[in-house]
């Protein structure tokens, strides 16, 4: 089992480094990281798509066509790497490839990539505030991958390197709801 994990990790790193090597320029590497995040979200969100891409009874050509159709317009190198993963039956490695790619890209760019999710699109002032705060923490340039999610109701969610800060209104409301539902009334004594 440890050998399997090692092989899996090495395969993920190879895919990530191949993808990073195929991209040209810092902006492209950062852009591909965002697109790779979208691919991961799409595959996670659709069990049917995930099942088809992992089904080896379906011809590899058909699955490759499906990848090109679903993710049309994405970076060409990213599409090629995805096609290879699907043909080799390695689509389940996508989350590890994403992590390995971000780590490799951050190292190549000398930056830290932070995912930022808010209800509204960030303006320059908010971007500067976020970058200023966290570049001071990491001692590196901060690159933001921005996402808009109205279900947060308000606030902000930050995540990078497996750490996550959830300062959204919906999570605070959930905590408040839990406290209200579990706190003793104290009136039955």
């Amino acid at each position: 089992m440890p050998i399997d994990r090692t092989l899996t990790r090495r395969a993920s790193i190879i895919y990530a480094e191949t993808l990073l090597g195929a991209t040209s320029g810092d902006d492209s590497a950062f852009e591909v990281s965002g697109q790779l995040e979208q691919v991961l979200a799409t595959v996670r969100g659709s069990g049917e798509l995930r099942g088809v891409l992992a089904d080896r009874t379906i011809p590899a050509e058909r699955r490759s066509e499906l990848v090109r159709e679903v993710f049309a317009g994405f970076n060409a190198a990213l599409l090629e790497v995805l096609v290879v993963m699907v043909e080799r039956g390695d689509i389940s490695l996508l989350p590890r490839v994403n992590e390995a790619y971000i780590a490799a890209a951050e190292e190549a760019l000398g930056s830290v990539i932070i995912d930022v999710t808010t209800v509204i699109a960030l303006d320059d002032g908010l971007r500067d505030s976020i970058k200023k705060k966290y570049s001071a923490q990491f001692g590196k340039e901060v690159l933001l991958r921005e996402h808009v999610d109205p279900s947060l109701v308000g606030g902000i969610v930050l995540s990078t390197h497996g750490r996550r800060i959830d300062a959204s209104v919906v999570s605070q409301l959930e905590r408040a709801r839990t406290v209200l539902a579990t706190v003793s009334s104290g009136g039955d004594r």
């Binding site: 932070i114 808010t118 209800v119 509204i120 303006d123 002032g125 908010l126 505030s129 976020i130 705060k133 966290y134 923490q137 990491f138 109205p150 109701v153 308000g154 606030g155 902000i156 930050l158 995540s159 990078t160 390197h161 497996g162 750490r163 800060i165 300062a167 209104v169 919906v170 409301l173 959930e174 408040a176 709801r177 839990t178 406290v179 209200l180 539902a181 579990t182 706190v183 009334s185 039955d188």
Partner: protein
Amino acid sequence: MKRSIRTIAGAVGASAFGLAFAPVLAFASEEGAEEGFDGIGLLLPKLTEFIPMLIGFLVLWFVLAKFAWPPFIGMIDKRATTIRESLERAETAKVESERILEENRLQLEETRKQAAQIIADARVTGEAVRAEVIAQAQEDARLLVEKARAAIETEKKTAIAQLQSSVADLSVSVVGKVIGQDFTDADHRRLIERYLVEAGNLDAN
């Protein structure tokens, strides 16, 4: 009885003997009357009449003593024996009756004692059973009340929890809708800036 009859017969004989010599005095008196004392002579029998009468009397006495008295005495004796036996049987029966009566009295007394003991035992047993039944009923009632209280308490807690949960859901839903509808982009930016200031460190190192 037989001796008495014999005594009577003896007395009758003695009287007859007396009467046999009494005429001597009568004859003397009669001679006296003939000599001038007529009063007493009227009472005394004449010797010529007295002797045959005496002889007849003796014969009669002999015949009676020989033939009449024995059966009569036998009958009297038999009657006396019967009466004596009857008296003895009556005495025996009386003693037996008194013995049976005493026995019955003792048995009755014993029976009364046993009945009293049975009643006393039954009273004690009944009292114990009554106390046990009352205690059991009280225990059952206490358990029933405890169960009812526990059930009511559980229901109450469940209802309160459900109410709290419903109120919490409703409150959060209302707050979420108010924020979602009433917050402008500027409000959201101010909120993000505030949370950003309060947000912790993302650097794991």
